[in-house]
């Protein structure tokens, strides 16, 4: 008997058991949430409102404008800043990283600068951005850019740098010139790591944007969250947090799909970072 009990705990569950345990844990959690927050349940609704109140808040957010914009407009405002900052960082960071991976001297010059700047958290740039650019969209784009550029550069450099020298020699032997090697051999081989860099960079950009919106914004999901906290609308605050989380997860999934499309041979698909 003892061995059978132990073997259950030491064996990975099958697909159906996995789903069942998953669902079970979600049901138990929702049940506990509902039970503890019911009137007289021990947790005040000011600390954590019951699930149906959060659902109500979500419906309210969907149907009526909050803080001057609809939920769609708030999401669009956040997305616009994140995309602008992330793409701008990619436009600078991707070529810079590839150059640093390919030319030794470019790496020698630029890498130490990044090493010096990297320990400063992107969030610490927010006050500087506000003094320089004011509480506007440009300040947020600037901070997102700072957060996004480091993974863009570092991963591109690493991707190009760690290409198998044998591939380059083979291409040289077959008569390829420098440009052909860089575009057809190096960038092609490095593609999965380049996309991985883009994914990490997008994750950083999103995380940082939320912080920037807590400090300098007049719309956006972080702005909703902070205001809801000030007016004690915890339901709305939780909805904003959930949307932030879902969008973050969505970015990650989309970038993994992109990897699968542009580099179907890569084994990075299974990994999540």
């Amino acid at each position: 008997m003892a061995t059978r009990v132990r073997s259950f705990w030491r064996t990975p569950p099958g697909k159906i058991a996995w789903l069942a345990i998953c669902l079970g844990s979600i049901v138990v959690l929702l049940g506990a949430w509902w039970y503890l927050t019911r009137p007289g349940g021990g947790i005040s609704p000011l600390f954590l409102p019951p699930p149906d109140e959060v659902l109500d808040a979500f419906v309210r957010l969907l149907s009526r404008p909050y803080l001057g914009s609809t939920l769609g407009q708030h999401i669009a405002a956040s997305l616009e800043v994140v995309m602008t900052g992330w793409l701008a960082a990619g436009l600078v960071g991707l070529p810079l990283g590839i150059a640093m991976g390919w030319w030794r001297k470019a790496r020698w010059v630029a890498f130490p600068i990044f090493q010096v700047l990297r320990p400063v958290p992107p969030l610490a740039w927010i006050p500087l951005a506000i003094v320089w650019l004011g509480i506007g969209e440009s300040a947020r784009v600037f901070v997102v850019f700072i957060a996004a550029i480091v993974p863009w550069v570092m991963n591109s450099m690493q991707a190009v740098y760690s290409i198998d020298a044998l591939l380059v020699s083979a291409a040289l032997t077959l008569g390829a010139n420098d440009r052909q090697i860089l575009t057809r051999v190096v960038c092609r081989t490095a593609l999965p790591t380049l996309v991985a860099g883009a994914r990490i960079s997008l994750g950083n950009a999103w995380t940082t944007l939320v912080a920037a919106e807590l400090l300098a914004a007049t719309s956006g999901l972080g702005y909703i969250a902070l205001n809801a906290s000030r007016t004690l609308e915890i339901g709305i605050l939780l909805v904003a947090m959930a949307i932030i989380g879902v969008l973050g997860a969505l970015f990650s999934v989309i970038m993994q799909l992109v990897t699968r499309i542009v580099a179907p041979w890569s084994r990075a698909n299974a990994e999540g970072a």
Binding site: I21, S25, F47, A110, F111, P112, P127, I130, S229, V246
Partner: protein
């Protein structure tokens, strides 16, 4: 928060990545000179926008000696470090055992995965407003943000490290008569230790970065608070001193951890890819 994705296949490196220091030093010196020149030549950059490097050094000395917004620079740094230490200690204390359990007892994984994934994608800073509601502008609020930022890296890397332990080792231990406790403490943990340590390093750095964000929004002390006060007082030199201190302390933490890792775990690290 920054992770370098490892190359897809592990191949022998061509050369160590550290370039000759001369080039790097020259580049940084050039930037410093450029900074100084831009502020020294009148009409290029206003001192309000970017003070000269010497102003920043002077401001550093002032902040170190005099109180600004409640305490000296060291007081603010100590406040930040205390909160950070509380948060990461709890994160490591809970995260590493949870990671071991998840890897060791597979049926626990589906029970925890839905919640864990749900919370993992909510950035630590999105917790700031609700943490303020729950605990006010207190040390608990800041430590909670640090904990949220540090916890996932501990769990994920520990789980990966433990799951990677070669099953031959486990069977060998079993054959030699080891029970579950002995196998865990004498075989699994030493093999997984480098991966666990990598997780702790990422957790420490994530926690430090998140703390700055939390301190910008709430609190009356700390380095994040210092730079937000610099912003309110329109003092770019104060902001720069704060940023440099934050960066230097973050780098110092990581260097110390690397040393500790080499001291404690001299054996070769597992080929785990760090996950942030």
């Amino acid at each position: 928060m920054t992770t370098i994705a490892a190359p897809m296949a592990s191949r022998p490196r061509r050369a160590p990545l550290s370039p000759p220091l001369v080039y790097g030093a020259a580049a940084i010196a050039f930037l410093l000179v450029l900074w100084f020149a831009a502020t020294a030549i009148p009409g290029v950059v206003s001192n309000k926008v970017l003070p000269s490097p010497f102003d920043v050094v002077e401001r550093f000395a002032t902040l170190a000696a005099d109180t600004f917004s409640g305490s000296t620079l060291f007081g603010h740094a100590a406040a930040s470090l205390t909160r950070w230490l509380i948060g990461v200690t709890v994160a490591v204390g809970l995260g590493v055992p949870l990671g071991v359990l998840l890897a060791w007892l597979p049926p626990l994984r589906p029970a925890v995965t839905p919640v864990f994934e749900l919370f993992r994608y909510i950035p630590p800073f999105a917790w700031v407003p609700i943490a303020v509601l729950w605990y006010g502008a207190s040390t608990t609020t800041q430590a909670m943000i640090v904990f949220i930022a540090a916890f996932p890296a501990c769990v994920i890397n520990t789980q990966l490290g433990v799951a990677q332990v070669d099953s031959i080792l486990l069977r060998a231990a079993k054959t030699l008569g080891a029970g579950a406790a002995t196998t865990l403490s004498r075989v699994v943990l030493p093999v997984a230790a480098p991966a666990i340590f990598t997780g702790i390093r990422i957790a420490f750095s994530n926690g430090w970065m998140a703390l700055v964000g939390a301190e910008l929004v709430v609190g009356k002390q700390g380095l994040g608070f210092l730079i937000s006060q610099g912003q309110i007082n329109d003092s770019v030199s104060t902001i720069l001193v704060g940023m440099i201190t934050i960066g230097a302390l973050g780098a110092l933490i990581d260097v110390v951890l690397q040393r500790v890792q080499r001291l404690l775990l001299p054996w070769k690290s597992a080929t785990t890819r760090p996950v942030a």
